[in-house]
């Protein structure tokens, strides 16, 4: 049903919904698509709610949900509220709806935050050069803030199974996926065995953003303005969030800049240490960078399988199976840099 609402109906439904939740008369001035991902479609709403002009973003689920670890819209909303209350930079969450009868799928509405979030633009636009210089420190500070959030009320957050450290949990999930896919790839088998033999000591568990990287940060010439895409929020090892933005796949063509194509890793880690009071072992960040590459390598094969199984046919998903080798090679190169 999500795909069959024509623009006029969609506009009308959104208007009715906003009137119902805000209790004000609503006039939509503009309703346009935002550069979409694969699992959600996003829309920018410019509207008058009563006397007030507001800009909002609506994010609606698509029919095929890709990841079972992703939070539901109401859970993502609660997580964003907790982050907002803690002073993290993110679009203020406004409303969520779990009904499918209104827009065809659950959706979330948040404030629109002006800025650039598309990775290749954040990395390459000349006007963002100053912003790029500021980003590593801002990213470190924001992560420290996120990792400090109390999670007692966020009982829905995925976490490692009992008795498993976050690293062990990540390892077993990858192994299970490979088993389900029927994949016997010696490079992955070797790398997972290496990881198992080099597990870092189990540390504290904190709230993780879960997908903290360039591509999920709204940036203006002033720097970081908002952190988006909270659907992979979970409890885990802070190092997971520290290493993920360093994974080569998120450097958008500037491979030599280890932090998301925009800067070096050290200023980011240093700012995190200063803001969090934690001392960060760089070797453990290295470990999780390897794990991040392996997660990508396995996920790429799983995406290809979605196409091959007929569940979700697309040439893009199919082609991902051949890109797994990029992160396999990167993982092997990183392992070689560690003592084997």
């Amino acid at each position: 049903m999500a795909d069959t609402l024509n623009p006029a109906d969609f506009n009308e439904r959104v208007t009715e919904y906003l009137e119902a939740v805000s209790g004000k008369p609503v006039e939509i001035k503009q309703l346009r698509p935002l550069a979409g991902g694969v699992t959600r479609d996003s829309w920018v709403i410019q509207a008058k709610l009563g006397d007030e002009f507001q800009q909002l973003v609506l994010r609606r689920d698509m029919m095929a949900e890709i990841d079972e670890r992703a939070l539901e819209r109401d859970q993502e909303f609660l997580l964003m509220q907790a982050a907002s209350a803690a002073g993290v930079l993110l679009p203020r969450p406004r409303w969520y709806c779990t009904e499918t009868c209104i827009l065809g799928a659950p959706f979330l509405i948040m404030d629109y935050v002006e800025g650039v979030s598309i990775g290749s633009q954040v990395v390459n636009l000349p006007e963002l050069a100053d912003a790029r210089r500021r980003l590593p420190e801002q990213m470190g500070q924001q992560l420290a803030c996120i990792h400090h959030i109390k999670t007692d009320n966020l009982t829905f957050l995925p976490r490692p199974r009992p008795g498993y450290s976050p690293a062990q949990e990540t390892l077993v999930q990858m192994r299970v996926t490979l088993l389900k896919l029927g994949v016997h790839n010696p490079a992955l088998v070797f790398a997972l065995r290496w990881a198992e033999k080099h597990l870092p000591p189990g540390g504290e568990m904190v709230l993780l953003h879960g997908d903290f990287r360039i591509g999920n940060l709204i940036v203006t010439t002033d720097g970081l303005k908002g952190i988006v895409d909270w659907e992979f929020g979970q409890l885990g090892d802070p190092y997971q969030d520290l290493a993920w933005p360093c994974v080569r796949g998120w450097r958008y063509g500037r491979g030599e800049m280890q932090l998301g194509g925009i800067g070096e890793r050290e200023p980011f880690l240093h700012a995190y240490e200063q803001a969090s009071g934690r001392t960060i072992d760089r070797k453990i960040v290295d470990f999780w960078e390897i794990m991040g590459n392996l997660q990508w390598a396995v996920a790429a094969l799983a995406q290809a399988q979605r196409h091959l199984s007929g569940k979700d046919t697309s040439v893009e998903l199919a082609s991902l199976g051949r890109r797994s080798a990029e992160t396999q090679l990167e993982a092997l190169r990183l392992i070689a840099q560690q003592e084997m």
């Binding site: 040439v315 893009e316 082609s319 051949r322 890109r323 990029e326």
Partner: protein, 144 residues
């Protein structure tokens, strides 16, 4: 015998058609535009595989002989060779998990093989990725 175009030439003709005739028509449909660019790229991957797969198959087989300390002959039929290779990789995966490559010399030999296998995959799937890694390595060497 098959008359020309060869398989590679046929793929090239489809690639050129999509890229030159179809992609320009899709500028207003962002999703289909990007998907078709991916399709064009996949055809390039297919052309490179046609060119390189026989050589890669041989090389991987020989490396496995070295790593697994065997001296088997690769089947002449290409499909049989691919099936046999898949079976050898299943076996290698088991051997790795059994700890057969945990000691230094065996691990070094395995590691080189795995690295080369990934490189060969990327020579087909994304040679630009290999080029950018090589440039980065060269630059880092230069700075030290």
């Amino acid at each position: 015998m098959y008359d020309r175009p060869t398989l590679a030439e046929l793929l090239e003709a489809v690639r050129a058609h999509l890229e030159n005739q179809i992609v320009p028509l899709l500028k207003d449909d962002r999703k289909r535009y990007f998907q078709t660019l991916v399709a064009v790229n996949v055809l390039r991957v297919a052309e490179r595989e046609l060119l390189l797969s026989a050589e890669h198959l041989q090389a991987e087989w020989q490396r496995l002989n070295y790593v697994q300390k065997l001296d088997t002959l690769i089947p002449a039929d290409p499909q049989a060779a691919r099936d046999a290779l898949a079976e050898r990789n299943r076996k290698l995966s088991m051997q790795i998990n059994d700890g057969d490559f945990d000691t230094a010399p065996q691990q070094a030999a395995l590691f080189e093989h795995l690295l080369q296998t990934a490189v060969e995959q990327l020579q087909v799937a994304n040679p630009k990725f290999l080029q950018s890694l090589a440039l980065e390595d060269a630059e880092r060497e230069r700075q030290h």
